[in-house]
């Protein structure tokens, strides 16, 4: 028997919120979209300052998924230490490579409220395709 999906607010738990922190726009875009399709709400940040800004306004964040190399004066390790000290309820996941972030995203998706949209290895493939397109994009004239 077909059952209509419940509307938000009809007793269903709110999706977990993941703050994805990745300085590479193409990687961040693909990872964020993948996790949204897994049913999570995603906030996107580019560096440690973004994370501290979001957390500083008490925005509900359940998980921080951050690249180790963030640029700036605070790397992922220092950021993770600070979050664990000041916001101990937030889970912090650090990733040092595309393969690692795809693995972690896949694990999160397994626990997420929605069906996995595609294999997490395709996250890596998609990011690499976009990077290659960008690398080979013709230079603008003038």
């Amino acid at each position: 028997m077909y059952t209509e999906p419940t509307e938000p607010g009809a007793g269903a738990p709110a999706p977990s919120v993941i703050l994805v922190v990745e300085p590479d726009i193409l990687a961040r875009m693909v990872i964020a979209d993948y996790l949204r399709e897994c049913g999570y709400k995603i906030v996107e940040g580019t560096n440690a300052d973004d994370v501290l800004t979001v957390l500083g306004v008490d925005r509900k964040i359940d998980i921080v998924l951050a690249a180790v190399e963030l640029g700036g004066s605070i790397d992922g390790f220092a950021l993770a230490r600070r979050i664990r000290q000041e916001y101990p309820r937030i889970d912090v996941i650090l990733t040092s490579s595309l393969a690692k972030v795809a693995d972690e995203a896949g694990d999160l998706c397994e626990e997420g409220p929605a069906e996995k949209p595609y294999h997490p290895q395709d996250v890596v493939r998609r990011i690499n395709q976009l990077r290659e397109k960008r690398r080979t994009a013709p230079e603008p004239k003038g």
Binding site: I25, A32, T46, V54, R134, A137, P140
Partner: protein, 141 residues
Amino acid sequence: MSFKAYHPSEGYEAARRWTVLVVEDDVLVRSMIAEALRDDGHLVIEAANAAEAVIVFKAGEAVDLVFTDRQMPGEMDGLMLARWIHEHHARVPVLLTSGNGSRVGMADFVLSESFFPKPYQLEEVAARVRLLLGKPGARGD
């Protein structure tokens, strides 16, 4: 190929989802705008600055409209980004917002309905996006 797109608010099922590129360096503002547009049914790509926006275009992502702040750090501000888009992706409309409500310094390619002085309400942004994406000549028409 041309096709007609309907907006859910008109009571028709949407033929496709538009992709909006939001370019804003303030993470809180960017996140709020992006969520408002996603709630309105759009696909949203978030860029923190003009350089990231250019990367998105160069990677071949299909973008139907760009919403960009004018004042952003880096070598390229929002107006320069709008000019770049006008030169290389002329069919993509650009919504330009600025804390300086004056249009002084705006170029003639920034249409009057494409300028958005701050402060603005999120519903205004969503309504203006719908207006621009419904115009003939927008991507896909």
